[in-house]
């Protein structure tokens, strides 16, 4: 039996080196579903001890890549030890703003061994995001539903965007009195959408449409 000999953290999670926060999260979830105790695929392949070792390595990979500083140090180590070239570090920032959930992208021609981005697109969450993007107005509840489906906690959005949790909650609960002025709100929604890798333009427009509807109904 081989473990993860010769594989780096990115390879262990089966993600490209420029993966976004969300992709890492998804990949971690996939890895745990493969190697977890209840996994049909592996329950008979590993002993309890082996499984423990494997899960520890996966957790180490996950916690390192989820932490900006630790990840930077790890990436530097990969580059310094010649396991990777420098180009990917510069790619990382570009990747953040690239929406995965895009209204006109189909999922039919995704190959079997889908990479992280494609994996997200083909998942059940894709359906939910399509549903949200197809609406003309997007409520805070829609955003919350998508965030939860993606397994992202509200404090994680906070730690990545520096938007306060109370404002994030106000956005998700459509609480008018808790929302910042429009110019800030616009920017916050954009950041929120970027973390969830859903088309920011659509979200901003949809959300503003939604709150204007609420205002008019008052």
């Amino acid at each position: 039996m081989k473990y993860f000999e010769g594989l780096n953290y990115y390879e262990i999670l089966k993600i490209p080196e420029n993966s976004s926060f969300l992709e890492i999260k998804q990949a971690h979830r996939d890895a745990v579903s493969i190697y977890g105790e209840d996994s049909l695929a592996t329950y008979s392949l590993f002993s309890t001890d082996e499984r423990e070792i494997i899960l520890k390595i996966i957790e180490a990979a996950f916690s390192t890549l989820m932490d900006g500083n630790k990840r930077a140090a790890y990436d530097k180590m990969l580059v310094d030890s010649g396991q990777s070239d420098t180009t990917f570090i510069s790619n990382q920032s570009q990747k953040q703003s690239e929406p995965v959930f895009h209204p006109d992208k189909g999922s039919e021609d995704v190959p079997l061994a889908a990479d992280a981005t494609e994996r997200i697109q083909t998942s059940e969450e894709k359906q939910l995001s399509d549903e949200i993007l197809s609406k003309s107005s997007v409520s805070g509840n829609d955003l919350k539903k998508l965030r939860e489906a993606l397994g992202v906690e509200i404090h994680e959005i906070h730690s990545r965007t520096r938007i306060s949790v109370s404002v994030l909650s106000a956005i998700e609960e459509n609480r008018m009195e808790g929302l910042p002025p429009d110019v800030y709100l616009r920017n916050f929604l954009k950041l929120y959408a970027e973390v969830l890798q859903i088309d920011p333009l659509k979200i901003v427009d949809g959300y503003f449409k939604h709150i204007s509807l609420i205002k008019h109904s008052d």
Partner: protein, 306 residues
């Protein structure tokens, strides 16, 4: 070039014979010359799945030297381009299939003049099954999405690995100390890892060679009897795990959906993919067949002038 695909997978009832018959049919229908060989010695029933009557002879006539060449025993089926070799009349010899006979069968199979050869193997991991599986460097593993079947799936890969390693270690260049150690630790608990460990102790330079031996093999994985509510990512998960934790190359080629009519077809002794070509299960099988032939066009040779 001939491609030989032994079909194994450990557990009984997962549909190895059904898949042999179906893939044989579909690939023959693509225009390739195909033969399916029943090597489930003692429990032959592939002919039934091919909608054929009990064959009168087969491998036995090659082993008792009634015929000189194995291809003389390849009989046509109801599908054009699809041929069949039976082992029905070998069942008497199964208890002690002579090693020499086994080698004779294997080398005759490797010389058969067909585009695709499918070997329908018996259940379990006995030496005959494993050796027939090792007729080729490529094999198909069939399982169902059930814990017991997947367990046997891995057990089968392990058994194949041990067989390869032990065969290699028999060779003269290995110290008898290694051979003894490996023989001693034989048993259900011995694993590839343990053997490689022993070898690295006595022959550190040979470990890479052994790993390369294992790396030469390519396995295609099929999940049969897939039901609606099952997790569709299972096949890909198993592929990922196998590629990571075993030494060879594994490719998941597809699931085959469960269909009640498959049982009906078997009961009425008809060939399912021919009788029901447009069901979801037949569609699944077609996709798998296309992956195996990679949509390669059959080579049409100019007819010989007689």
């Amino acid at each position: 070039m001939t491609e030989i695909y032994p079909i194994g997978g450990g557990k009984g009832g997962v549909g190895k014979s059904f898949i042999a018959a179906s893939l044989g049919t579909l690939i023959a229908q693509q225009g390739h010359n195909v033969v399916v060989i029943d090597l489930d010695l003692g429990a032959s029933n592939l002919h039934t799945l091919l909608a054929m009557k009990n064959p009168k002879h087969g491998l036995n006539r090659y082993l008792d030297k009634t015929v000189k060449r194995l291809e003389s025993e390849a009989v046509p089926t109801i599908i054009p381009n699809l041929f069949f070799i039976s082992s029905l009349h070998c069942s008497m010899e199964v208890a002690n299939l002579l090693h020499a006979h086994k080698l004779k069968i294997i080398s005759a199979i490797q010389k058969l003049p067909f585009d695709y050869i499918f070997l329908d193997l018996g259940t379990g991991t006995n030496f005959n099954t494993l050796d027939f599986f090792l007729t080729s460097k490529e094999g198909i593993l069939v399982g169902t999405p059930e814990p017991t079947s997947i367990e046997n799936f891995f057990r089968f890969i392990n058994a194949v690995y041990l067989r390869i390693l032990k065969q290699t270690l028999k060779r003269a260049e290995f110290l008898s100390a290694v051979k003894d150690a490996v023989t001693e630790m034989s048993g259900p608990t011995a694993g590839t890892h343990d053997i490689l460990k022993i070898v690295s102790k006595y022959h550190p330079d040979k470990v890479a060679h052994l790993k390369n031996k294992l790396r030469e093999f390519e396995f295609k994985l099929i999940l049969n009897q897939f039901r609606k509510n099952m997790d569709s990512s299972l096949g890909n998960q198993i592929e990922t795990v196998c590629n990571r934790h075993f030494h060879s190359n594994f490719q998941f080629v597809g699931t085959i959906r469960y269909d009640e009519q498959i049982h009906d077809a078997v009961f009425s002794k008809t060939l399912y993919v021919q009788k029901y070509p447009h069901t979801q299960s037949s569609d699944d099988l077609k996709k798998i067949a296309e992956k195996i032939t990679k949509n390669r066009k059959p080579i049409v040779l100019p007819k010989e002038i007689s």
